[in-house]
């Protein structure tokens, strides 16, 4: 049975936004810290570090989840998607990101990466959601500057755009 010792660094390899990455982590290192400080990919933000604020939300094997409640060693061999994986490689924004821009769905941007990853998962599984359903998903995120009206509008507009396309 694999036992990774405390206080030692262990090799962790996984797929990040379609690209193989690797680095070393102690068992106690959070996935958020591994992404930001070891891999150097800083789009995923760190807020409360106990699963409440939602800023660190990422997709693990396609499922939206809190990056701060995962240890890096847990994602070995898995597929991780962060906000960097949303747009095109040429810097083009995704339809959801475009809708955020059009609807003033962000201001300081601290909560935005997590919200985008939640909605990326949710809209994929629920292509034509109702407003209450979108608000229920957003209850897992704290935004302290714009309020949620623009965010809800952006989510619904993206769903409608996907349906019309």
């Amino acid at each position: 049975m694999p036992r990774l010792k405390a206080g030692q660094r262990h090799e962790v390899a996984f797929t990040l936004n379609g690209v193989a990455v690797r680095g070393e982590a102690e068992p106690r290192m959070l996935l958020t810290d591994f992404l930001r400080h070891v891999i150097g990919v800083t789009g995923t933000h760190v807020g409360c570090e106990h699963g409440v604020c939602g800023a660190c939300t990422i997709r693990l094997d396609g499922v939206a989840t809190r990056g701060c409640l995962l240890f890096a060693v847990q994602v070995a061999g898995r597929d991780v998607k962060t906000v960097e994986g949303l747009g095109g490689s040429d810097g083009r924004l995704s339809p959801l990101q475009e809708a955020f821009r059009r609807n003033h769905a962000l201001q300081c941007g601290f909560c935005t990466a997590g919200i985008l990853m939640s909605l990326d998962d949710f809209l994929e599984k629920n292509p034509s959601p109702t407003e209450p359903e979108v608000r229920e998903v957003l209850s897992g995120h704290l935004c302290r500057c714009t309020g949620y009206t623009g965010i809800v509008r952006a989510a619904l507009e993206t769903a409608k755009g996907n349906a019309d396309a």
Binding site: M1, H50, C68, V137
Partner: protein, 275 residues
């Protein structure tokens, strides 16, 4: 907000987890979805020297009907149970309660058994287990035992699970014909911890209700069929017996008010839902 150091053990089977628990005892903690435990680790409210990760164990990722109960294995997530129940439409109480458990983004990893193991007094799943008179299936290297919900929850994040035991599964009894089920809770925001949560079961001749978020654990009461002022009196007595405390979220008096008013509303809804 970083955990103290720990060894990380990825269990390859239930037997391996039990061997590790046998060896390490209360030095170790079982890690499943981590939606309560990782937060506790980050805040250093717990400092185990080892984590035994069971989240990858297929043998525990199950939810199936067995002997008049839905038996949910220790690796089954809240989202997976929710999807299954909404497809089958077989458990009105759990279906009503599950959307209130944490958030979309935590139900995706958070397990049903993990919520039971954590035993937060305001959590919805311990409340449902209590209301339904369910059981917790515990296992150590030496033995298996079944503990009724009434005997499992001992206080704030405190349970009858021994240091060398893990929860293998929990059993939520299936709804009975001619019984009605209802759930509701009051919280500041959707997904926040409940100031008070209610699960009611109305039978042909009885009313049963469990209340969470007021006492140090979910508490249930059963009465003969009551109506009008008699029901108000029973709820008032229950509200006082729960001995709720003032805290930063609500006063004890407000919580008693919730037991009287919201508790009654949930009981009446359960009565209306009787088949």
């Amino acid at each position: 907000m970083k955990p103290a150091p720990f060894d990380y053990i990825r269990a390859g089977s239930v037997d391996e987890s039990l061997d590790a628990l046998h060896e390490l005892g209360d030095e170790a903690r079982i890690l499943a979805g981590g939606q309560s435990l990782a937060a506790m680790l980050n805040m250093r409210l717990v400092r185990p020297t080892a984590l035994i990760d069971i989240s990858g164990l297929r043998e525990l990722d199950r939810a199936e009907t067995r002997d008049d109960a839905i038996e949910v294995g220790a690796a089954c997530t809240q989202a997976a149970l929710s999807h299954r129940l909404s497809r089958e439409g077989r458990h009105p109480l759990l279906e009503a309660a599950l959307p209130h458990v944490g958030h979309y983004q935590t139900r995706s990893r958070g397990t049903v058994c993990g919520s039971i193991a954590h035993a937060d007094p305001s959590a919805e799943l311990p409340l449902c287990l209590m209301a339904l008179g369910g059981e917790v299936l515990l296992r150590s290297r030496q033995k298996r035992r079944r503990v009724p919900a009434e005997a499992f929850f001992l206080g704030v994040i405190s349970t009858a699970c021994a240091p060398d035991e893990m929860i293998e599964a929990v059993r939520f009894p299936l709804p009975k014909p001619a019984y009605g089920y209802a759930f509701d809770e009051v919280s500041r925001r959707h997904g926040d911890f409940a100031l008070a949560a209610f699960a009611a079961i109305a039978g042909p001749r009885t009313i049963r209700m469990a209340v969470g978020g007021v006492a140090d654990r979910p508490v249930s009461r059963e009465w003969p069929m009551l109506e009008g002022a008699a029901l108000d009196d029973a709820l008032n007595a229950f509200a006082w017996e729960l001995r709720g405390q003032d805290d930063q979220h609500a006063t004890a008096a407000y919580r008693r008010g919730l037991v009287r008013k919201v508790g009654r509303r949930v009981i009446e809804e359960a009565m209306r839902c009787r088949g």
